[in-house]
Amino acid sequence: MFLTLIRRELLDNLMTFRFAAAVVIMLLLVVANTVVLIKDYEGRLADYNTAVKTHRQELLTYKTYSDGIYWLIFDRPPNPLSIFNAGLDKRLGNEIQVSHAFIPTIWDANKHAADNPYFNIFTSIDIVLIFQGVLSLLALIFAYDAIAGEYEHGTLRLVLSHPVRRGYILFAKYIGAMVCLLVPLLMSLLLALILLTTSAMISLNTDDFLRIGGIVLTSLIYLSLFYLIGMLISAITRRTSTALILSIFVWGFLVLVYPNMILTAVDTAPQTDTKPATYHQIKRMWKELERKRKQFLLNDSVPGEGLGLYIFRVFKDKPSALMYFYYAAGNLETINEKSEPQVPHAQNFFRFFGPLTVNTAERTWLIRKPAFEKIYVQPANRGRMLLKFSPAGLYDAATEAWAGTDFNSVQDFFIAAQRYRQAIINYFHDEKIFASRQWFSADQGAVDWDTLPQFSFQRSDIGINAKQALPDLFLLLTMNILLFIAIFLVFIKNEV
């Protein structure tokens, strides 16, 4: 009996116009956008490869440690799964400088290959956005007459006159419609995957396919949620026309209006008003370092940082990124006989000043970190939290976590950069590089940059992606179950 019911539902749905329309529209939108997205990703990957190459070449032109440390620049590779959910992958900076004089963060990053940033005024579309908008709408279109339609036609009475449980009828309807809805979802996804694999530049590994699997699972639960919402409306209103109108309004509110409205009403923009004070605090620390430097030089028997040797200071002053630092550097090609006696003095100075610079950088980090937290991360998290009151927001957050384009995953790259900086500094300490001749002079040979520890960055494990996606997924699932119970209760109590 149960199977008969499902078969009936399936046939009912498959032969309809809406099913054909759903398939066509999904294929059209997904394919058109996937082509664009793949092209965009390939462009970004090419830019990334050139950037890596140029940064490497640039670094090799520097001959001393102190001169080159400003040019240790690493690039964040684009995430191939940003095709599914772009998240923050495209927006945030993608090249970071690693220096001993500051701790690298997202907010210090630059952007390579931002050829025409004015294109940002167009909203970017990814596959998840299409699913989020269209799939939910399709689910409601399939659901609005599921129960109300049968009331109106009087077929419900007929079905219920058979010895069949009401729960079975609901379940059969649910399964039948979900199978139908799965067709456009899976077909469009399959086409997208085929397009992805035909691209020579995109290589997906097993983990990536598992992540895509996670996205599909989330999409499925999201789809089912909207189907159940539609069914509940259908069961309550009992009239198809009312159910249809109400469903569209609910869809408009949940998907279109709520996410934008809540973030318009609640201010989640970065809270920049505390910036100047923090910046001055940081600047004061560096001024303090300057005093210490002068103090040191006064006590030194030879005045100046290395009399006669060309020692310069590298400055960076960027209040908008709470950034102020400077350090001493030298890039001498040769040292003549006359200046030779000053070399030990210069070495002495750098032995003192190098670690002090590192120390100051670490002390400013204690201020910068909470400041960034407060200015950028907290409002952003508040915004994300509020978005999760809508299933569309939950879906977006979960798929972002699966794709690894959420804030935490992008942050991973910068944490790797921070770890790398620490490794470099440890290396400098171990090899006594601050006090070495090569720190400021290349007269006895240029620095071999390959001896430095190598920077490596791996996208986080799928386990971590899953861990971040699961809470949202679980919430979606709970909503599903609650809605199903609600529909069941309404349907049981309904009189036919």
């Binding site: 329309a21 529209i25 050829d115 309004f249 915004g383």
Partner: protein
């Protein structure tokens, strides 16, 4: 006809959709107004502070000497925030709000354009602001479809269409009656919400709308009406062609999703992928080339020389070099900016197939925000820069004792400059110029409406009952 209109109106006013529409539009408009009242004074305050600072700076430089004015330039120039920001936010958060001014110890000032990567530091979620563009473009268009999808097919299903057409009413009268009924019943909630919104905004003491702004709001209302008509006509067309209302709604919804939600971005992305681009690397290469060319013409003997000891011929050469440097850098940078903006505008022109994108552009134009406005601002800045330089030359020419060598301290007038005489930058919104760019788009929108209405008429006339 009025009878039909009235009947439609009563039908609609009593329906669930009318109530939901009113609530939804009111909520959106109130949110929009609250946001504007909260944010706009901050924007205006920021602008005024920046402008005052610029003027103070200019005054203190003018007190110094004409040479300093010629070297340090007018300072950072800011874009004036539009009072109609609530109508169309126009991606203002993604566009720079100023043009910078660069100079160093010896070289003269020149304009530099900050990058449009403003949003790079924001780690928050991506959302569009609720402005009128959103409310009208997405919500009102959807509502217009909801009011018309069953206008004809519904009557046919109930059999009332046969009844009505049995009377001696021409079919076009029926159609126009239905159209007007739907138009009025969608406009009522919108007008109500928009009036509440405008009332809130205009009664807030911090926000001031002048006559010109009200004029612009008037034009915006007209555009909204046209846009609503477009979707009503579309709804009627599909409703007349299709036998069942449910099918009609499915078609309409899917068309709506495609044309309104996805088309603008997809087309823009497609267009941006295929249009030729000058990459940033290429630009910097060109920059480097012209830089090294200019460096070659700079002579070693000038470097670090005491200007008062150089003869007049050399000074004149130095002056010429400075002027040439400024012009060539400004041309390069301005050219790159124009190139980028034109590229985006070309992509935008392609999106005009979508009525939502058309509405977007039109509202931005009349609200004085967005890319066109940014371009206008850059134009204003460039005009002002010319004016400023001419002022310096004129002031110098007015002094008979000066050797008239612009760009060299000893070659310029030493007479004090009155700070009031220095031209100040005032950013202006120009409505006449706006209308030129918008006329095409308005015509296109009207064309869409006419075509769809004609289509609906033909479909309804040929319909068999």
């Amino acid at each position: 006809m009025w009878h039909i209109t009235k009947r439609e109106l009563y039908n609609n006013l009593n329906s669930l959709r009318f109530a939901l529409t009113t609530v939804l539009l009111l909520a959106l408009m109130v949110t929009n107004a609250v946001r504007h009242i909260r944010e706009h004074p901050k924007r205006v305050q920021k602008y005024h502070d920046a402008v005052t600072e610029s003027i103070n700076r200019l005054t203190s430089i003018a007190d110094d000497s004409l040479y300093e004015l010629a070297r340090q330039g007018p300072g950072v120039l800011y874009k004036k925030p539009s009072p109609l920001h609530f109508c169309a936010a126009g991606g203002e958060t993604l566009l720079p709000d100023r043009v910078d001014n660069w100079y160093d110890a010896r070289r003269l000032w020149r304009l530099t354009y900050p990058d449009a990567n403003i949003n790079m530091m924001n780690v928050g979620p991506d959302v569009s602001q609720i402005d009128w563009t959103f409310i009208i473009g997405y919500v009102l268009s959807l509502i217009a479809l909801l009011f018309t999808f069953d206008a004809i097919s519904g009557e046919r299903e109930h059999g009332t269409l046969r009844l009505m057409l049995a009377n001696a009413i021409p079919r076009h009268t029926v159609l126009i009656g239905k159209f007007l009924g739907a138009l009025i019943s969608t406009t009522i909630p919108f007008m109500l919400a928009a009036l509440v919104n405008l009332l809130m905004i205009s009664s807030a003491s911090e926000v001031h709308l002048n006559t010109e702004a009200w004029g612009r709001v008037g034009i915006i209302f007209f555009i909204v009406l046209l846009y609503t008509c477009l979707f009503l006509a579309l709804g009627l067309l599909v409703s007349a062609r299709v036998q069942r209302s449910a099918v009609s709604l499915v078609i309409l919804l899917l068309t709506w999703v495609t044309f309104v939600v996805f088309m603008p971005s997809t087309l823009a992305a497609l267009a941006s992928g295929f249009s030729p681009s000058m990459s940033a690397d290429e630009y910097w290469e060109r920059y480097g080339q012209s830089d090294s060319k200019l460096r070659r013409t700079w002579q070693r003997s000038w470097y670090g020389a005491d200007e008062s000891e150089l003869d007049e011929k050399t000074l004149r050469k130095i002056g010429e070099w400075h002027t040439k440097t400024v012009t060539s850098y400004e041309r390069l940078q301005g050219g790159f900016l124009t190139f980028k903006i034109i590229q985006v505008q070309r992509a935008r022109a392609i999106t005009s197939i979508s009525p939502a994108a058309l509405l977007h552009h039109l509202l931005e134009t009349f609200a004085g925000t967005g890319l066109d406005r940014h371009q206008q601002f850059v134009g204003n800045v460039q005009r002002y820069a010319r004016e400023y330089r001419e002022f310096i030359v004129d002031m110098d020419r007015g002094d008979p004792e000066s050797p008239h060598i612009i760009g060299v301290r000893v070659g310029m007038s030493k007479k004090p400059v009155s700070p009031e005489a220095v031209p100040k930058f005032e950013d202006m919104l120009n409505i006449g110029k706006d209308f030129n760019t918008a006329a095409m788009e308005l015509l296109l929108l009207t064309l869409f409406v006419v075509v769809l209405l004609a289509g609906a008429y033909l479909a309804f006339v040929r319909v068999e009952i």
